[in-house]
């Protein structure tokens, strides 16, 4: 008994600490390590690529939609083959990685790692995951410089996909762009999808641009809407370059300009 008491007097602190540690570990075990994970999550927050759950669900939904689009495109291809549709594209689309950004702050540009050696030319259209990204401004043999649609100098003829209201989309140096409508009272509401119109000279029709975030109908000289771009331009890593020849010859008869897109513009 005496020996036990002496031992206790000698090692009380140690025993207490050990007990505390074991107790804490037990609590932690019971809580499935919540504190550790919480702390870890808090400390590594700056390093994490943010992707909340609703975004993950949205991604899954987007994936589903993409798969449907692929299916529809395939069907469309079959049907076109059946009616002997003449393929207009001669050059293939090219995937390219984004290797750089604009060399100064006033231009919204990206640099791609493919150039004229991969048959990319000036005026080609660049799309990314989500939709339209921009168009090729200049090419070297192994790189291409792309003017993003977020650049204030970039103007695109666009339409509301649902109601076919026409307008012009202008960049704002951010992930949102503004769209000015031609009509005084355009048929548009938040959430509407905006695509390029067939009147656009620099872009082919029906490429998705983004969704309407807000509308200012009272703005002069024309009603305007703020469009949230669907392509994440600031984190873009890969892009697809589609061959395209700008319709700069505006004096050509309309039938030649519109080609087979006439049904879209109605």
């Amino acid at each position: 008994m005496f020996a036990l008491r002496r031992w206790w007097e000698k090692h009380a602190l140690k025993a207490g600490l050990a007990g505390l540690a074991v107790g804490a570990a037990w609590l932690m075990h019971q809580a499935n390590g919540a504190i550790v994970y919480e702390t870890y999550q808090f400390l590594t927050r700056p390093l994490q690529p943010g992707l909340p759950t609703d975004e993950q669900i949205e991604n899954a939904y987007v994936l589903e939609l993409q798969e449907r689009v692929v299916e529809l495109e395939n069907q469309n291809q079959r049907l076109r083959e059946l009616v002997n549709y003449a393929e207009q594209q001669t050059r293939p689309s090219t995937m390219a990685a984004v290797i750089g950004r604009s060399a100064d702050h006033w231009w919204q540009q990206v640099l791609l790692n493919r150039g004229s050696r991969d048959q990319i030319g000036e005026g080609d259209i660049v799309t990314g995951p989500g939709g339209l990204v921009g168009r090729v401004l200049a090419v070297t043999s192994n790189s291409a410089r792309v003017l993003l649609i977020s650049d204030p100098t970039s103007q695109i003829g666009a339409k509301v996909s649902r109601s076919r209201s026409m307008g012009v989309v202008r960049g704002q140096s951010s992930s949102q762009v503004t769209m000015e409508f031609f009509d005084k009272v355009p048929d548009v509401k938040p959430g509407d999808v905006i695509v390029t119109s067939s009147y656009s000279q620099l872009f082919p029709p029906d490429i998705p641009i983004g969704r309407v975030a807000s509308i200012d109908l009272g703005k002069s000289p024309a009603p305007a809407a703020v469009i949230q771009l669907s392509a994440p331009l600031n984190i873009l890593e890969w892009a697809t370059v589609h061959p395209f020849t700008p319709k700069l010859d505006v004096n050509a008869p309309p039938a030649n300009i519109l080609k087979d897109d006439a049904e879209d513009s109605q």
Binding site: I99, R101, S102, D104, H105, W106, P152, Q172, S173
Partner: protein, 190 residues
Amino acid sequence: MAYSTRSRRSAPRKHLWNWGITLGSVAFCLLILPTRLPGMELLGVSPNWLLIWVVAWSVSRTVFESAIAGLVLGLLQDSLTASYPTHALGLMITGILTARLQQRHYLQGDIISIALIVFGMAIVAETAMALQFTVQSLFLPNSLYASLSQIWVYHQKVALSSAILSSLWAPALYYPLKHWWERYRPSNKP
């Protein structure tokens, strides 16, 4: 430029090295412009490396040499983006102002004054760009920007982020260059 003949201890190889380092540093600045490394980006804006280079160059040189350097580097940057508005204007003003400040002995070569001067010059250079956009928007038929307010709101954002980042990164470029130029051109003016 003219200084290469003035150097007393001029061994041809040394000059070759000097030129190599000078041009190499410019090439390095140009190559680093399109990158957006983590920690070098604020609101999508990266440090203005060419501006830092021009300040480093102008701190120990004449007004004329500084203006030429600003012009050359400005044109090089134009080649990477677009010819109008030109960056040469802003960088020339930067070079000239820095050289003038140095001549009047307002500047010591320490870290604080270099950071301050880069801060101020970054704002000056971005203002020169914004002014060119404004002139174009006021007097030329097809303006790049829709409205004046758009230009100046964007100018505020760009000038501030560029100034902060450039002044923070200035010593990284300034000290190696200064060290090199002092070592290989001991006979040069103050």
